[in-house]
Symmetry: C2
């Protein structure tokens, strides 16, 4: 058995069964080992940003890490943007990067570069294997690192000679470490803050607190105490829709965020960080915490948040209180006419299937859907946690592979979708059940607003050119078909309903370009 | 004047007139300044790999740096692969990366990451501006760094508050540093090696030695001494075609490379490094230098190679010897039938227009064209210097903008072209005169060979899936049209001739998908 095979067998023995790959020569022995050994699925991405975003979304849904397979420093480079997003989402990934054979590095071949240097800013754990007999143990350590709650990026760099050299056999990662329990002191401090604030208390939730019993307990606490329940601006995975507690997301816009947080005197954090603005703007604060507001952190995102929320409800005597803020299925009448944001949100509220997974990179269009989609059928909502666009389409790949029995919907800006549209090909190859809705405003609409927000005035011709995708308008239907994905175009809400229904009806990928 | 405007005016005053951009919020003041100030052209790329490869190719042709404009760490991440290629090509780039306002970084907003850490592995020079009044001086220093011969990646990180804060005014980069003169001792040592080797001497050329008088002097030396003249495996910019000295490129394949270098007893390097294999393979050497061969470095790639070759010829008494290895326009009969590699090379040899620029990422198909295209009309050939694929299409963007009066041809593999096909949109927007030839073998053909070369045996089903782009076949014609670029498909050599002629006849982008 060579080192590559010992690593593949280690991954499988350690419950890593999915590998998102874009390999090259230095990874060929790893590919050969994946070929020989049953128990791990290989999915090719035509660009590495597809690989890393798919691994991010896979972890969020499957709740266990996938492996990646990347080609030296430049392959890692292409994956960095979405590794950044995965790191901020606290997704676990066993990020395997090939490297030249150890003895070859000194020769400074074309692809030689500082892989560890590139990996460190986007990794929690980095190791370069030194010989073929240690690759299995390194692989097990990488899996353990990736599974460290709530999830870590573990980058294992695999020189080619450690892959082709002799190995003794596989290793096995130790069982996942349970999430840390939150102390009674922290729970009691949180409860005191909730009580002190009353209606001026805000419970800000993140991570696992936005799902299951934890979210339900938030509703019970709100019913008992009158506190507000919000979620962070972006959420890795949030349950929403009919029958669930509504935890509105903090908005991107600073003024709207300040308004939403206004009046809060006690901020209680469960799996969330103190809320910050996405960017800095001249003359505006970097934090959304109101002046004088007390901040109490009950639990960070790596703790056992299900238990923490139960304990917090118990401490507040709210364990049995019927929850507040619970939504109901109420899509209203079918919308018609011009594709306004409100109209699109209404259409989407009609259409979201039961238990669907939403990958939201809808930016200016999708950002404000929550006020309506909270009344859609129950679903889960995933956002771009690191703020780097080009995540949505390949996130759909990872979500669909993690949950083949669920419908996946991607909301995608036409600007953001462009970065990694290669994901469409993987959807076609793997027949993934993903319905994509592209908001084709033919611009980086967010930047047109941001241009004013930062005080840069009115864009002239050259600036406008940097903020638009017209001249020419990309034809998403043609591009999708070029990748083997069927697609249709809509220009009004009737067309949107028709095309989305078509997409949701088929058991495979379908792209809807909505011209707005 | 704010910091951003002081930087833009510094760039213009320092002869930087081109900016390849994919900006975001933190760069809006820079965009606004580009808007206000005349003298610098802005070209938008829909993905940052387009931006960095375009800047690489622009430098090679324009012989002066362009600026980039990238959005924080993740935007830089997307550019890394082609920054790596540019670094290995020794292209100069003023690589401008936005950053959060200094005071905002501690808040760990979604996009916050270690930008300097990501930049260092692909940069020769990295600086983060500390205040708006120093941005102009930092910009001038970045231009000076980028212009350091033969060219450097100078990464300037620009926190948003240094862009919007007050500045005093622009700075100006000092005049470019002249290339270092090669010492008489080095010339004499080189001449002694050439003479000692005679027909067993190999003159290996790189960088600027592959153009103009330097290349001609190589032919004179070959005529006088009988030595061989080769170029490195990939070349940043090599003159080729009728009337020029033929300096065949060392091949990718190790065995072919060893065969080509076999018999060399004296290796003389002018702008080249000792030749190494692209990858390491079990049981094969990392270097192509034959055992016992003496290696003499006359000049590294940053030296004045035109002068060095003149001096070397002079030392050898070859200054006036009519050059050997000179090629003539001899395309042979128009090829017909199946698109074999030889047939495609013959077609291309017919078609290359006078003074065309070739961006070659043809991988398995394009790699061996040289033996025939040396007899095409005179042209220049540029290759992927860092070996990271996804360079060819956006390199066409940069070359066409650097030389609007010349025809640009891109040879592109269908696998490699996929990484950055977004470049097509920029070609459409800017009406760039680029004719693209996609070799659609629907596979990573190179990897199918490499799989065997590394001793991994025969690929099975899973491995084959990692090495192919079929299931489904990408439709390059549809994808190109989706980006607004006209395109046609050919399946035989007659079709190839017809489609390429169509592309070369129009004054704008045209893509030919050749199914092979």
């Amino acid at each position: 058995m060579n080192g590559a095979e010992s690593l593949v067998r280690t991954l499988i023995a350690s419950d890593v069964n999915m590998c998102f790959a874009n390999p090259g020569t230095s990874e060929m022995h790893f590919v050969a080992a994946l070929d020989r050994v049953e128990g791990i699925r290989c999915v090719l991405g035509l660009a590495e940003g597809v690989v890393s975003a798919a691994a991010d979304a896979y972890y969020r849904i499957a709740e266990k890490p996938a492996a990646t397979l990347l080609h030296l420093g430049p392959g890692l480079g292409n994956a960095i943007s979405n590794l950044h997003n995965a790191r901020k989402a606290r997704s676990g990934i066993v990020n395997i990067v090939g490297e030249h054979a150890g003895y070859h590095i000194a020769h400074d071949a074309p692809l030689t570069c500082d892989i560890e240097g590139l990996a460190k800013p986007v990794s929690h754990w980095v190791k370069t294997s030194t010989d073929s007999r240690s690759v299995a143990a390194d692989g097990a350590a990488a899996v353990e690192a990736a599974r460290t709650p709530p999830g870590c990026i573990a980058t294992l760099i695999l020189p080619a000679d450690t892959a082709w050299g002799e190995a003794d056999g596989p290793a096995v990662a130790r069982s996942p470490v349970p999430r840390r329990q939150v102390s009674g002191d922290a729970i009691r401090a949180g409860a005191r803050s909730v009580q002190a604030g009353g209606k001026a208390a805000t419970l800000l939730l993140g991570g696992d607190a936005l799902r299951g019993k934890a979210l339900e307990f938030a509703g019970r606490i709100a019913a008992k105490t009158g506190c507000r329940v919000y979620s962070e601006f972006n959420t890795a995975r949030q349950e929403s829709g009919a029958g669930r507690v509504d935890a509105p997301r903090l908005p991107f816009n600073v003024d709207l965020g300040l308004a939403m947080m206004s009046g809060t005197t006690q901020l209680i954090l469960v799996g969330a960080k103190p809320p910050v603005t996405f960017f800095a703007y001249p003359g505006k604060p970097s934090t959304l915490v109101p002046p004088g507001c007390a901040v109490t952190e009950v639990a960070d995102v790596g703790a056992d948040l299900q238990h923490a929320m139960a304990a917090l409800a118990d401490e507040l005597g709210a364990s049995k209180t019927p929850p507040a803020l619970v939504t109901s299925f109420d899509p209203g009448p079918e919308p018609t006419g011009q594709p306004t944001i409100e109209g699109i949100a209404a259409a989407v509220t009609h259409l979201i299937p039961e238990n669907a997974i939403i990958c939201d990179e809808g930016i200016t269009t999708g950002r404000n859907f929550g006020a309506q989609t909270k009344n859609a059928r129950p679903h889960e909502w995933m956002g771009v946690m690191g703020g780097s666009i080009g995540w949505g389409l390949p996130a759909g790949v990872g979500a669909a592979l993690a949950a083949p029995d669920r419908k996946v919907i991607v909301f995608e800006g036409d600007g953001s979708g462009m970065y990694t549209n290669q994901a469409l090909w993987t959807m076609a190859r793997e027949s993934l059940d993903v319905t994509m809705l592209i908001f084709a405003n033919r611009s980086y609409q967010v930047l047109q607003t941001e241009f004013k927000n930062v005080g840069a005035g009115q864009p002239g011709f050259k600036a406008r050119d940097m903020l638009t995708l017209d001249r020419p308008d990309p034809d998403w239907v043609a591009i999708a078909r070029g990748y083997g994905v069927d697609a249709g175009r809509a220009t009004d809400l009737e067309g949107l309903m028709r095309e989305m229904k078509r997409g949701l009806a088929v058991n495979g990928p379908y792209l809807v370009e909505l011209v707005i």
